[in-house]
């Protein structure tokens, strides 16, 4: 049959300053198909999708929708063309209800009849099997509910070309399966669907064809049934890559941290950690899995002394001491004063671990600037450290005086990890250590974690990619709603088992 391309891109180029984020990219999507756009972080996938949805305007190139050349100057144009984008970071307004978010920006009578809108929404959700209360405020919703609002928003607008940016990043495997089923329904309805992803499993499971990008360039498009994981990786990375993550066996593990019934309450009064107990051993990597916002961040911050503790205890056992030290009542500064070397790589690198506008020297001293009694800061040692970290971790930067926000994501993470490792810690906590990094940088980080493990450091690693956690860690603790729903041996477990544990208490609560 005569294939009409729902969308076709020809030679799309987009530059940001000196960086070319999209370099003469071509691709097309047909009606009634699911296309995966596969690429590493920084390959220009998101830039390309932002061009299609009118967020960016391309410097060069042409876009055709249903065979007609168009200029998409704003998201409004995109929506008139029937293009709907579901961003990775949801574009929803917290203080408004689901219905208000859904009708946002739509034309119609001046007076807004929310009841009418709610009825239309209910009809849509019933058709596709979503669950959604149109009057619920966004700030009361869970992540997957918010995603539902986003999708319904696009359907409500009659979008027939749907773009989803990393849609499963925040979902449990079970929730992801549900989403896939819905997407297949929509495909069978004749809509064109584009999934942006860097997860190969997702590509294989869902899409009809896959387009691969690398470093802003178009590499190729193949039907999924002809693709293999190895082939796609090679296209994505540009060379053959060994995808196995090394996992040495723990040597002489000793108890380093003992948490008993740790409970934390946030500012709004909600319980973020609910009687969490765990033990961390030297020479092992303890993985922490869970749906986003299940208490991972609070757990690490509580151990690091950055989070007030409501109840419970944290004990630390130094490598050469027999006695446990109670540290739950101390803040980060006091813990440091005792000579306990807890290192912490937080998930928000430039918003917490580093200061983007400062240079490397100033960033090196963030956790150590107080050293010395002098009123003035000593910048000599941090500068030497910065130079050492640049050299040892091969950080690509013009120099120690360059603000770290100018560095690429991978280099930023190396600066942060480098600094935290430099204090030769006994406990190293990392949150989402490879988020946003390309494959090479990711493997460098895995390698660094394993190095620390071999040195007898107790490593605690919060992750979102279960495939990676299962390959990297020794044990995996699963958090659900602030509770420990299970601790499993990573060598024995499967993704599905962990997925069930992730949903564990949620389901209990619903009953």
């Amino acid at each position: 049959m005569g294939q009409i391309n729902a969308i076709e891109l020809k030679n799309i180029t987009k530059r940001f300053g000196k960086i070319t984020a999209s370099d003469r990219v071509c691709m097309n999507v047909r009606r009634g198909e699911i296309l995966s756009v596969l690429g590493e972080n920084g390959s220009g996938k998101t830039t390309l999708m932002n061009i299609i949805s009118g967020i960016y305007f391309p410097d060069e190139g042409q876009i055709f929708v249903n065979g007609q050349e168009v200029a998409i100057r704003s998201p409004k144009d995109a929506y008139h063309l029937g293009i709907g984008m579901i961003h990775q970071h949801f574009k929803l307004i917290d203080v408004l209800s689901a219905a208000e978010n859904i009708v946002l920006g739509l034309p119609g009578k001046l007076r807004l009849n929310l009841q009418e809108v709610a009825e239309k929404i209910n009809a849509l959700t019933a058709k596709y099997g979503f669950e959604l209360d149109p009057y619920q405020k966004i700030y009361e919703m869970s992540v997957s509910q918010k995603q539902t609002v986003e999708i319904v928003k696009m359907l409500y607008r009659g979008a027939n070309i749907l773009i989803l940016d990393e849609p499963t990043a925040v979902l449990t495997p079970q929730e992801a399966d549900k989403l896939f089923a819905v997407l297949r329904n929509m495909r069978d309805d004749g809509r064109a669907i584009i999934i942006i992803t860097h997860k190969l499993q997702e590509v294989m499971a869902l899409s009809d064809r896959v387009t691969v990008l690398r470093k802003g360039k178009y590499i190729g498009t193949i039907p999924t049934h002809e693709a293999t994981v190895e082939l796609l990786t090679e296209m994505m990375v540009g060379e053959k890559v060994n995808l196995d993550i090394e996992r040495p066996n723990p040597v002489d593990p000793q108890k380093r941290l003992i948490l008993r019934n740790l409970t934390c309450v946030n500012k709004e009064g909600a319980t973020t950690l609910d009687h969490v107990s765990l033990e961390a051993y030297s020479g092992e990597i303890l993985g922490i899995a869970g749906i986003a916002g299940s208490g991972q961040r609070e757990l690490l911050e509580a151990i690091a002394g950055l989070q007030p503790i409501e109840e419970g205890s944290i004990e630390y056992i130094a490598p050469d001491a027999n006695q446990a030290l109670e540290i739950s009542a101390m803040d980060a500064v006091n813990i440091g004063k005792l000579g306990i070397r807890l290192s912490f790589v937080p998930e928000d690198r430039l918003g917490m671990g580093l200061v983007g506008s400062m240079d490397m020297t100033d960033n090196m001293m963030i956790r150590s600037y107080k050293k010395g009694k002098f009123f003035f800061v000593d910048r000599k040692k941090p500068k030497n450290l910065a130079e050492k970290v640049i050299e040892e971790l091969q950080i690509n930067t013009p120099g120690v005086d360059t603000p770290v926000s100018r560095l690429s994501g991978g280099n930023v993470q190396k600066v942060l990890v480098g600094r935290e490792i430099a204090s030769s810690p006994t406990v190293l906590m990392v949150a989402y250590p490879v988020r946003g990094l390309d494959i090479h940088s990711s493997y460098t980080i895995y390698h660094l974690l394993n190095e620390q493990k071999k040195n007898g450091v107790a490593v605690i690693c919060v992750g979102e990619d279960l495939d990676v956690l299962i390959q990297l860690c020794d044990r995996i603790l699963v958090l659900s709603n602030g509770k420990v729903s299970g601790i499993v041996d990573a060598r024995q477990t499967t993704k599905d088992k962990i997925g069930i544990l992730m949903m564990h208490t949620v389901k209990e609560n619903q009953k």
Binding site: R24, A71, H80, G336, F344, M365, I366
Partner: protein, 369 residues
Amino acid sequence: MQKQNHAVYKEPLFRVSKREELSLWRAWLIRICAILISLIVCAAVIYFLTKLNPIQVYEAIFEGALGTEKRTWVTLRDSLILLCIAVAITPAFKMKFWNVGAEGQVLMGGLVTAAIMIYAGDALPSIILFPVMLLASALAGLLWGFMPAVFKAKWNTNETLFTLMLNYVAMQLVSFCIVFWENPAGSNAVGIINSITEAGWFKPLFGLTYGWNVIIVLVITIVMYAYLKYTKQGYEIAVVGESENTARYAGINVKKVIMRTMAISGALCGIAGFILVSGASHTISTNTAGGRGFTAIIVAWLSKLNAFVMVLVSFLLVFMEKGSIQIASQFNLNEYASDVLTGIILFFVLGCEFFIHYRVNKGHRKKEN
């Protein structure tokens, strides 16, 4: 197909993109151009309103600001005070604490200074009187800066609005005191304090009337520069300003830093009030700060919080102000002309920053095939 018609290929008129770092001299070139253009616009406005020759008017401005030695000194004195306030609010701004309450903090400092001059001016020897006035004015400003900081630190109360409101509380306090101090009675003004004994007035230093003003302000400026750049506390301010989360992570007590920094900022504003009363006006009124607390915010911002650029900017603004007062009297214009002209110049200088950080391209497209 109908609804797609309007989206068919059309260029956006302008496209804006972020610039890579612009070289320093080009950035300054843009700023100087902006000032020149603003002066041309001002000239046009002057001509349109008064039909006066703008060149003559600018000559008069120069004459008014720097025409005689006395005028030069007055211009310098007022620039120094503006500089002092701008420097005082710099640490708060660096911390992203929008202290728009400098006006009130200055007034409080001035009020306390005036009180001491009135009640103890003739009783205390100078060697005690001046340190007491300095300390007391600093404390008064500190109190006014500290209050909003406490609430910001503890409950995240919006500091822009809090400090703004405190300005008027301070003004009413001044009005309150004027009732008791008015001289002559019924004038509702304090008049020159200690006009005969000159007790509590700055004495000339090295033969210069405003010698002390110069010394105090310069010391404050240099110390503040060093404080922000080379001390641990200065580093803490920078980290808190960039990201409170990072500060928490770094083990910085964010609340303490906010309160401490605002105490410093308020105290320095108080000292500016001391200099104003003791070293310049020798009286107190609700107009003593005269909007300098607000102008200083503009000075600090335009200078990108760089203490040395502030010297230049505050001089420029006071220069314009003094000059405009001259043209007002010389050409029989209204003295508020200076505010209008200052406003126009500020608009241009504020606007030109955009062209330093962004590049504007006309919509164009190369045909690829």
